[in-house]
C-alpha cells in the first residue's frame, strides 16, 4: 500500500473522541462542576457523529475504511453513548463517580468500537477490541462501593483475556499460513486447508465471547449484575454491536469463501445460545440478570443473520442491533429510574403494581418488554421477522422454527414483568429517581421502538444499502 493514500481525515471521529476523552480524564480533578462533563460529553457525541458522517467513503491505507457499513454501526454506538450519557447523571452522582473519568472511559470504549466497525485488517480490529474491552473492564468496576462491581469486573477481565488469547492465536495461525492480515486479501487465500480453517475456529471463540454466545457467555450475568446500571445498558448493546460489526465483516468478507465450513460450526452454537439464554432468563428474579440472559438469547437471534450468510441476513442483523439498542436501553433506563438507592429496583418484585402508582414508566416498560418479546406493532417484532425470514431464505427453515420456539420461552420472563406491573397490587413503597434527561432517554427509546415497529420500510432499505 503506497503511503500517499494515507489520509488522516478518515480517522477524524476516532481522533476527536480520543482528544475529548483525554481532556475529560485530565480535567477530572480540576473541574468540580459535574454538569460541565455531562454537557461536554453530550456535545462531543453529536460532533463525533457529524465527523463520522463527514469522513464517509474515506479510507486510511488498507487498514481502515469509513464505509456505510461502518457508519451504520458508528451511528448505533454513538446513539447508545448519547442515551447512556442521558441516563447517567443521577446514578453517577449517587454512587460518587468521577465524572471526567466515567465519560472519558465511555468515549475510549466507543473509539475502540468504531475501530472495530471500520477496521479492514485483523490487527486494527484486534486493537479496537482491546481498547474497548479494557475501558469496559474499568467501567464495570466503577461502583467501587459495591463488591459485586469489583467481582464482575475481575471475572470479565480474566475471561476476556482468555478470549483475547484465542483471538491472537487465530490471528497468528492465519498470518502464518497466508502472510496476509488485510481482510479483502485474506479472502483470496482461504482454501480448504485444515490449518487455515482451524484459525477460523479461534475467531468464533473470541467473538463468541464478545457477543456472549453460549458457552462463552458465563461472564455476562455476573458482569451485568455487578456493573453500574448505566454501564450495563451501555455494554449490553454497544459492546455487542461492536462484536457483531467485526464478526460480520470478518466472516462475511474475509472468511466468506469458507462459508460452507464455518456455518456448520456456528449453527449449533447459535441455536444453543437462543435456548440457554431464554431458559435461564425464566428463573431469574433480579431484573439485571434477567436482562443479561435475555441479552445472551438476543445474541443467538442476531447470529442467525450471520448464519444466513447473505446480504439480506447481515442487514437483518444490523437492523436488529439498532432495534435492540432502543428497546434494551429503554428497559435499562426504566431500571435506572427505579433505582433511588442501593439495590432497590433490581428485584423484579419491586415492579409489583407499578402501573397503579406510575402509569407512564409502567407503560414504557410494557412497551420495551413487548418489543423484547417480539410482539407487533413494536420494533422487536419487525427485527425478529426479518431475521427469521433471512434464515428461511438462506435455506434453514428448521432453524427459523427453533428460533420461534426459543422466543416463545422468552415471552415468559418479559411478560412476567408486565404481569407484575399491571396485575398486582403494590406491596413495597416505590419512589422514582426522575430527571428530565432520563425522561428524554425513555422518550427517545420509546419513539424508536414504535416508529420502527410501524414504519420499518425506509429504514430497511437504507440498512440493506449500507451492507458492504
Amino acid at each position: 500500500m503506497p503511503f500517499s493514500l494515507l489520509n488522516l481525515k478518515a480517522l477524524m471521529p476516532e481522533i476527536f473522541l480520543v482528544i475529548v476523552a483525554s481532556v475529560m480524564v485530565l480535567l477530572d480533578r480540576a473541574v468540580r462542576e459535574k454538569a460541565f462533563f455531562f454537557w461536554m460529553a453530550l456535545v462531543g457525541t453529536v460532533v463525533a457523529w457529524l465527523l463520522a458522517r463527514e469522513s464517509l467513503d474515506l479510507h486510511f491505507g488498507a487498514s481502515y475504511l469509513s464505509d456505510h457499513y461502518g457508519f451504520f454501526f458508528k451511528t448505533i454506538f454513538l446513539l447508545v453513548l448519547f442515551l447512556t450519557i442521558l441516563i447517567s447523571p443521577g446514578y453517577a452522582k449517587r454512587e460518587g463517580f468521577h465524572f471526567g473519568e466515567y465519560y472519558g472511559l465511555l468515549f475510549f470504549a466507543v473509539c475502540g468500537m468504531m475501530l472495530m466497525a471500520s477496521g479492514t485488517d485483523l490487527l486494527v480490529i484486534y486493537l479496537g477490541l482491546e481498547l474497548m474491552s479494557l475501558s469496559i473492564y474499568v467501567l464495570v468496576a466503577m461502583a467501587a462501593g459495591d463488591p459485586r462491581s469489583i467481582e464482575g469486573s475481575l471475572k470479565y477481565f480474566l475471561l476476556g483475556s482468555l478470549a483475547s488469547a484465542f483471538l491472537v492465536m487465530g490471528l497468528a495461525v492465519l498470518y502464518g499460513k497466508t502472510g496476509k492480515i488485510v481482510l479483502s486479501e485474506l479472502a483470496g487465500w482461504l482454501t480448504s486447508d485444515k490449518a487455515v480453517l482451524t484459525g477460523i475456529l479461534f475467531f468464533i471463540v473470541a467473538f463468541g465471547f464478545k457477543v456472549a454466545m453460549v458457552p462463552f457467555h458465563m461472564w455476562a450475568p455476573d458482569a451485568y449484575e455487578g456493573a453500574p446500571t448505566p454501564v450495563t445498558a451501555f455494554m449490553s448493546v454497544a459492546a455487542k454491536a461492536a462484536g457483531f460489526a467485526a464478526l460480520g465483516r470478518i466472516f462475511l468478507l474475509a472468511f466468506y469463501p469458507a462459508y460452507a465450513y464455518w456455518v456448520k460450526l456456528l449453527i449449533p452454537f447459535a441455536v444453543l445460545t437462543m435456548f440457554v439464554g431464554n431458559i435461564l432468563a425464566v428463573v431469574q428474579t433480579n431484573i439485571k440478570r434477567m436482562l443479561a440472559y435475555s441479552s445472551v438469547a438476543h445474541a443467538g437471534y442476531i447470529l442467525l443473520g450471520i448464519v444466513s450468510g447473505t446480504k439480506e441476513g447481515l442487514s437483518a442483523s444490523m437492523l436488529y442491533l439498532l432495534i435492540y439498542a432502543f428497546m434494551n436501553i429503554g428497559a435499562f433506563a426504566t431500571v435506572v429510574l427505579m433505582q433511588r438507592e442501593g439495590r432497590v429496583g433490581e428485584s423484579i418484585f419491586d415492579y409489583q403494581g407499578l402501573a397503579k402508582l406510575y402509569p407512564v414508566p409502567a407503560f414504557l416498560m410494557l412497551l420495551f418488554m413487548f418489543s423484547l418479546t417480539g410482539i407487533p406493532p413494536t420494533a422487536g417484532f419487525i427485527g425478529k421477522f426479518y431475521l427469521f425470514r433471512s434464515v428461511v431464505h438462506a435455506g434453514y427453515p428448521i432453524i427459523a422454527i427453533l428460533a420461534v420456539l426459543a422466543s416463545v420461552i422468552a415471552a415468559y420472563p418479559y411478560l412476567r414483568i408486565v404481569m407484575l406491573m399491571y396485575m398486582r397490587e403494590p406491596e413495597r413503597e416505590i419512589k422514582l429517581a426522575p430527571s428530565p434527561y432520563i425522561w428524554l432517554a425513555l422518550g427517545l427509546s420509546a419513539l424508536g421502538v414504535i416508529t420502527i415497529g410501524i414504519y420499518p420500510g425506509s429504514l430497511l432499505t437504507s440498512v440493506l444499502a449500507s451492507v458492504f
Binding site: 475481575l154 471475572k155 480474566l158 475471561l159 482468555l162 478470549a163 484465542f166 480448504s192 485444515k194 480453517l197 482451524t198 475456529l201 468464533i204 471463540v205 463468541g208 465471547f209 453460549v214 458457552p215 462463552f216 458465563m218 461472564w219 450475568p221 455476573d222 465450513y261 456448520k264 460450526l265 449449533p268 452454537f269 440457554v276 431458559i279 435461564l280 425464566v282 428463573v283 397503579k356 402509569p359 407503560f363 425470514r389 420461552i409 415468559y412 410501524i454 414504519y455 420500510g457 430497511l460
Partner: protein, 663 residues
Amino acid sequence: MHAETAKYVSDAMHYVAWIPGLPFLASVITLVFGRWFIRDKAHWLPCLAVFGSFLISLKALWDVIHGTWANFDLFTWVAAAGIKVGVGFQIDPLSVMMLAMVCSLSFLIHVYSIGYMAGDPGYYRFFAYISLFTFSMLMLVSANNFLQLFFGWEAVGLCSYLLIGFWYEKKSAADAAKKAFIVNRFGDFGFALGVFLVFVFFGSLYYQDVFSRVHEIAHETLNIFGHEVAVATLIALLLFCGAVGKSAQFPLHVWLPDAMEGPTPVSALIHAATMVTAGVFMVARCHQIFELSPVAMAVVAAAGTFTCFMAATIAPTQFDIKRVIAFSTLSQLGYMFMACGVGAFAAGMFHLFTHAYFKALLFLGAGSVIHAMHHAPDPNDMRYMGGLKKYMPITYWTFLIASLSIAGIPGLAGFFSKDEILASAFFSQYPWGKFVWAVGTFVAFLTAFYSFRVVFMTFYGEFRGREVLHGKEPHESPKVMTVPLMLIAIGAVAAGWIGIPEILGGGNHFAHFMAPVLGHPEFHVPEGFEHAEKTLEFGLMGLSVAAGLLGIFLAWLVYVKKPVLQTLVPRKLPLVYRYLFRKWYWDEIYLYLIVKPTLWVANIFVGLIVDTFVIENTVNGLPATVRVVGGGLRRFQSGVVQHYALIMAFGVVALFILFHYYF
C-alpha cells in the same frame, strides 16, 4: 365507465390521515391514563378528537366536490416477496361520504354519551373503546387496499365485541358479545378467503390494481370438486360472506338483536348507523366484481329481500323497545342489499346514508326513554311505558320525526332513499327486480306499522309504569342528550334532500356525485309503458306512500283507537304469532344444529382427549421442564471464575470435535 380513475392524485389531501388519527390518539391516551388520572373527565379528549375529525372530513368533502380525488400510501406496511401493502387512503365520493357521515354521527353520539354514561364505573373505558371504534371504522372506509379494509373490518368487530360486553358482569351481555364475535367468525372466514383469492388472481391488494383489471377474471373458472365455478362468482360470494356476517343478513343475522345488550349509544353508532352498514359499503366498493357475476347478484338480492321481509315480520311482536329497532335495522339493511342486488349501488348507499341518521335518532330516542325508565326492573319493556309524550316532549318529537322518516312519509329522508331503491328495483335489468320491488313495497307497509306501534305504545295513552317506578314520574333527559337528538333530527329530515329525484324537480345530486365510482344502473321500462314512464314512476311512488300511511293508520287503530285488537292475532293465530314472536326459531335451530353438536364434540373429543392429555401435559409440563432445565443450567453459574474458564474450554473442545466430525 371508469375512465375517471385517472382523476386520482397521490400528492394531495394527505391531511386525511388525521381523520382516523385523532380518535386513535384520543383512544390510546384515554385507555392508558383514564383509569387513574382522567376518570370522569374522560369524555373531553375523545369528543374533541372526533370533532376535529369531523371538521377535517368536511374539508375533504369540499375538496372531493371540487374535483380532487386522492389515492396515496401513507407508508409501506408490509413489504415481502411479491406482496406490498401500505397504510393508505383512497378518497373519492364513496369514501368521503362515509367519512363525513361517520364523523358527524360519532361526534354527536360521543356528546350524547356524556349524559347517558354519566356515573358509570367504566366511564373512561367506554370513551376509549368508542373512539377506538371510530378510528377503526374510518380506517375501514378510507382504505385503498383490501388488507387495510380487512384490518378495519376486524377492528370494528373487536370494538363491537368490547362494547356489547361493556357491562361484562352481566351474563347476558357477556354472552351476547361472545355470540356476536363467534357468528362473525363464520362470515369473516369467507371474507378472508375472498381477499386471498383476489390476491391470487390479481397479484395485488390495491383497489386500483384490482378494479382496473377486473375484466381479466371475467371468463376464468376454477375447478372445485369437479364443478367449474366462475372465479368472479366465487370471489364475490366469499366477500359477501363477510358482508352477511357484519351486516347481519340471513343466515348470520342472529347476533344483532342480542347485541342490544350493549349501552344504547353503542347500539346507535355501531349496530345501526355505521359498523353494520360496512357490508353494504364493501359490496358497493367492490361492485365491479359483483357485476361480473349474475349469480352473486342474485344471492345478494335474495339475502337482502329475505332478511328484509323476515325481520319486518318479527319486529311487530317484540316488546323490548331496542329489539324492535334492532329488527327494523335488519330489515333496512335488507333494503340496502336489495338495491345492490339489482345493481343500484348508489341507491343502496343513499339509503345507508339516510338510514344512519334516522336510525341513530330512533336508538338515541329509545336511549333517552330507557334513561328515564332506568329504575324499572326492565327499563326496555314497552309494556311499562305509555303516555311519555307529556313528560319527554323533545324525545317525543325527535322520535316521531325519525319514525315518520323510516315510514317513508314524503319530504323526509327515508322517503327519498326508499323510493329510489324501489324504483331502481322495478326498472332493473335483472329479472328478479319486480319481485324485489313487490316485497319491498309490502315491507314498507310493515315498517310503518311496527315503527308507529313503538311510537304509540311508548308516547301515547296512559303511563303504565307508575308501579315499577314506585310512583316516581319519568323526566326529560339532560340537555347534553337532547341537543344531539335535535341535531340528528335535522339529518333525519334533510339527509334525503341531496338525492331528490328528477321526477320531483330535484337534481338527484347524490346519484350524480356517486356515479363516477358506482356507475349508473340501466333503467328498463317495461313494454307498453315507454311513453308513460313518468306516470309509472309516480304511480309506484304513490303506492309506497300509501303502504306507509296504511301501516301508520293500522298501528293507530290497534294501539290507540281500539286496544282490544292487540290480542286479536295472538288469540286467533297462536301458532303464527308464536312463530314470529320466537323470531322464526332461528336461535333454536342453530342451537340444535350447530351449537349443541359442537359442544358435544368439544366435550368428548377436545375436552377429554386433547385437553386432558395433550394440552394439560404441554401447558403444565413445558414450563415445569423449562424450570427444571433452567434450575439445572443455573448450577453452572457457580460464580467461580475457574469454572467459567473451564466451561469456555469445553466450548472450544466441542468446537474442535464438531470440526473433525464434519471435515
